[in-house]
């Protein structure tokens, strides 16, 4: 006799109920007025202290990625233009800037800093229009942080002997600075401020898609009466950047951008004696332990990956959650991203702005598709995307493995890959198992654990219980394919000086 078969009752998997973030008491639009900004119809190159017509005779259009409206047209520098700019910088270096008393250099930098603060609103609006990032970020982060970097480095100008005790510093000469589109003004100033403070002159090139804020900064530089040629702005495409990289009379290249382009620059400058700073891509690990303050960690995830639409080289794009809290974190994240507000970047309540370009949007879509194709589970915030412009809803993937493309390649968009770990050792091992090494964060209520884990992470920056915090006194930079050299702090002065 056989025992009666036991009735198998399948455990029903009940999807937990989620909170409803609907239209109840919805916020009325609160757009920032664009009145304070006067965008010119056309922008020339800024060489030798004045705006000059490009020898190339060419101009390219720059658009607002949130509306696809053409904002203006910008000069495209060719070889001759770059050469004139470098010559102007050389003359300025020999004649004025390297001879100036350090305290006088500081005065100029302070003057630029104060002017930038004075015009903070104009710059915030302009940057938002040209880049598509939310006004609350340009207003509360980009512009104030840029001003802070100027103030900080102005302070160093006449104190370099204290920066490197017992050593004398000598400037390098003309620096070629190449800036990306994700923080056009801020990263430009990250490079200009230490270069000038240490006595160098510069030729700087913004990204093709976001030239305007730097050109308006040139206006401030003009008004600040900086000796002509100390700062030269040459706008253009990647080709223009390449001309800067290859120019014979440039002593230093500081580049922020993709790893692929960075590798090209390193090859192109090999053997030339040019000094390099490379701030490249990243796939940073955001590690959350069971004992973390989870609600604040959730905010850290949001800040880590959705800040600036994920167009952040140090974005916390790989989330490592300890297995025991995986479900809770995912549930909270699902609820939290419902309340992110995507839309008009000029609206003061917008959290997520536009993707920089159609091209970048395609890259993001392609990588997201690979995530879906490889079997990862996708979740996207249920927000309505505007008809015009380039947009991508905040997205995260669960069930991601180390071998998936979305866990290895930089997406540079609002897309998070969630992985899990069981032990601290495993977290460190997985976090370090990447070609990149720019940033990361550790979330735990246990102070000793923060120090233990962060000292084992191979990345330039590790945040403890926070994410994307920047201070001019704190160096920023990467390991491995994320580059080398530091920006900010004492370490950030070193790439711009020769020590005697």
């Amino acid at each position: 006799m056989t025992a009666p078969e036991k009735k198998v009752t399948r455990l029903e998997v009940v999807e937990p109920k989620s909170l409803q973030f609907g239209k109840k008491w919805d916020y009325a639009p609160s757009p920032e007025s664009t009145d304070p900004v006067k965008i010119k119809l056309r922008y020339e190159l800024f060489i030798g202290g004045k705006f000059t017509v490009p020898k190339s005779g060419n101009y390219f259009k720059t658009i607002n990625p949130a509306t696809e409206e053409v904002l203006s047209e910008v000069a495209e520098a060719n070889e001759a233009d770059v050469d004139i700019a470098v010559k102007a910088a050389r003359v300025a270096y020999e004649k004025y800037w390297s001879k100036l008393a350090p305290a006088e250099r500081a005065k100029y930098i302070f003057r630029i800093a104060r002017q930038l603060q004075e015009k903070a609103r104009e710059f915030a609006i302009l940057e938002t229009m040209d880049n598509g990032k939310p006004i609350k970020e340009t207003r509360d982060f980009d512009v104030p942080t840029a001003a802070a970097h100027l103030f900080y480095h102005a302070g160093w100008a006449d104190k370099l002997e204290y920066a490197f005790p017992g050593r004398k510093t000598r400037p390098l000469g003309v620096c070629g600075l190449i800036v990306p589109w994700n923080f056009p003004l801020l990263i430009a100033i990250w490079k200009i401020a230490p270069a000038l403070a240490t006595g160098n002159t510069v030729v700087i090139k913004p990204s093709k898609t976001t030239s305007l804020s730097l050109l308006h900064l040139a206006k401030i530089i003009e008004e600040a009466d900086l000796p002509p040629g100390v700062v030269n702005v040459v706008t253009g495409t990647g080709k223009t950047g390449d001309m800067i990289v290859r120019h014979q009379d440039i002593q230093k290249i500081s580049f922020t951008g993709s790893t692929a382009v960075g590798k090209g620059i390193i090859k192109a400058t090999a053997g030339t004696g040019k000094r390099l700073t490379m701030e490249l891509g990243g796939k940073s690990a955001n590690i959350i332990f069971e004992d973390a303050a989870i609600d604040q960690a959730i905010e850290g995830i949001i800040q880590g990956i959705y800040f600036n639409q994920g167009h952040v080289c140090c974005a916390g794009s790989r989330l490592f959650v300890q297995e025991g809290i995986r479900d809770l974190v995912i549930r909270k994240l699902k609820d939290r991203i419902q309340s992110l507000r995507l839309g008009n970047p000029l609206d003061k309540n917008t959290d997520i702005g536009a993707i920089i370009s159609g091209e970048q949007l395609e890259t993001i879509r392609e990588l997201v598709k690979s995530g879906v194709d490889e079997g990862c589970e996708i979740y996207q915030a249920p927000c309505e995307l505007p008809k015009k412009g380039f947009w991508f809803a905040p997205t995260f993937f669960t069930g991601v493995a180390q071998s998936n493309r979305i866990a290895r390649e930089e997406i540079f968009g609002p897309v998070l890959s969630i992985l899990t770990f069981r032990t601290p050792e495993e977290a460190v091992e997985k976090a370090n198992n990447t070609a990149y090494g720019l940033a990361g964060a550790v979330w735990t209520d246990k102070g000793s654990k923060i120090f233990k884990i962060s000292s084992k992470l191979k990345s330039g920056v590790v945040w403890g219980n926070t994410y994307n915090k920047f201070d001019p006194a704190s160096p920023f930079g990467g390991y491995k394919e994320s580059g080398f050299g530091r920006e900010g702090g004492l370490h950030g002065l070193l790439p711009y000086v020769e020590l005697e």
Partner: protein, 314 residues
């Protein structure tokens, strides 16, 4: 027990406080806030006359006809929409009045025929340092006299000395004494000091049967703050995650301006969502907030600020 990071929670509260609330949203927010007020008087000098007057104010915070007649006048440019919408809106009554137990009969009489609830503090308010049997007796008496809601105080002394079970049992017993009346547990967050304590006390109260958790008595040096309220809202959400039971929230003390009130509403909207955005689940414990809300409302309608002489002080 999940912990709270001080820097993180304060940053989040500050960022939510930056939401830009303008135009129609502001008007709707103010009307919503008025409907969520527990109009409060908790002073030793409270008298029947004072409570009666306050109840009248609770029923009709502002003579709607008065505001509407003001809206008839020419609105300033840009104010037309608000002016128009206010003309058709009634100013709501507040949610409840909050008084000492001996004032319940007076309030009950004054509020007869209205929807306004009567909340009474009990259990040795504000210190809570009364024997348990008397706390229970006081609660029962308040309910018998007609209190719809009981605002009890947490025994902070016991909580801070780690006697959680004792605190929890006490809340359960008071809840039992409440019968059908709603129980609000006042944590007196200013005396708990740390956010971790606030979260712990919130869970303790919710687990023991509280219908609402409330920040403060209004008698301590530090009363409701945005971050403390956010900690409690997150605790309410996590409790809902665990149990499916909705708990209400009441910040009290120190909320005086419309701007502050709207910041609290933003926190509710973005932490707990639509379901909590009503006076069934969110209240303001306040006495002077009402007039500022009314003043802002009049300003939204007419474009001008009016002198406080136009708003009654009851």
């Amino acid at each position: 027990m999940q912990t709270v990071d001080q820097i993180g929670i304060e940053e989040r509260a500050a960022s939510l406080a930056k939401r830009s609330i303008k135009k129609q949203t502001k008007v709707e927010g103010i009307l919503l806030a008025i409907s969520m007020i527990d109009l409060t008087t908790l002073e030793g000098k409270d008298s029947a006359g004072k409570v009666q007057a306050m109840c009248q104010k609770a029923i009709r915070p502002l003579d709607s006809a008065n505001l509407q007649s003001q809206c008839q006048g020419p609105a300033l440019p840009g104010r037309e929409a608000n002016s128009k919408s206010l003309r058709s809106q009634m100013i709501p009554s507040v949610a409840a009045v909050c008084v000492y137990p001996s004032m319940i009969p007076i309030a009950k009489k004054a509020l007869k025929g209205t929807q306004i609830k009567i909340a009474s503090v009990a259990t040795g308010f504000p210190s809570g340092l009364t024997p348990l049997s008397i706390k229970i007796e006081e609660t029962k008496k308040a309910v018998a006299m007609g209190a719809d809601e009981i605002d009890m105080v947490l025994s902070r002394g016991n909580f801070l000395s780690g006697e959680y079970e004792k605190v929890s049992d006490e809340i359960s017993l008071v809840k039992e004494a409440c019968g059908d009346s709603h129980l609000k547990v006042i944590l007196e967050t200013g005396e708990l000091e740390t956010y971790d304590n606030v979260r712990k006390a919130s869970f303790l109260a919710m687990n023991a049967g509280a219908n609402f958790i409330k920040t403060s008595t209004g008698k301590a040096a530090v009363n409701a703050t945005l971050p403390v309220t956010l900690v409690m809202l997150e605790a309410i959400r996590d409790y809902w995650y665990q149990t499916g039971r909705m708990i209400g929230m009441k910040p009290a003390g120190g909320i005086r301006t419309s701007k502050q009130a709207l910041q609290y509403l933003v926190m509710v909207k973005e932490t707990l969502g639509d379901a909590w955005l009503s006076n069934e689940w969110f209240r303001f414990g306040a006495s002077t907030l009402t007039n500022d809300l009314l003043m802002q409302l009049a300003k939204e309608a007419t474009g001008n600020y009016q002198s406080l002489d136009y708003f009654t002080n009851d």
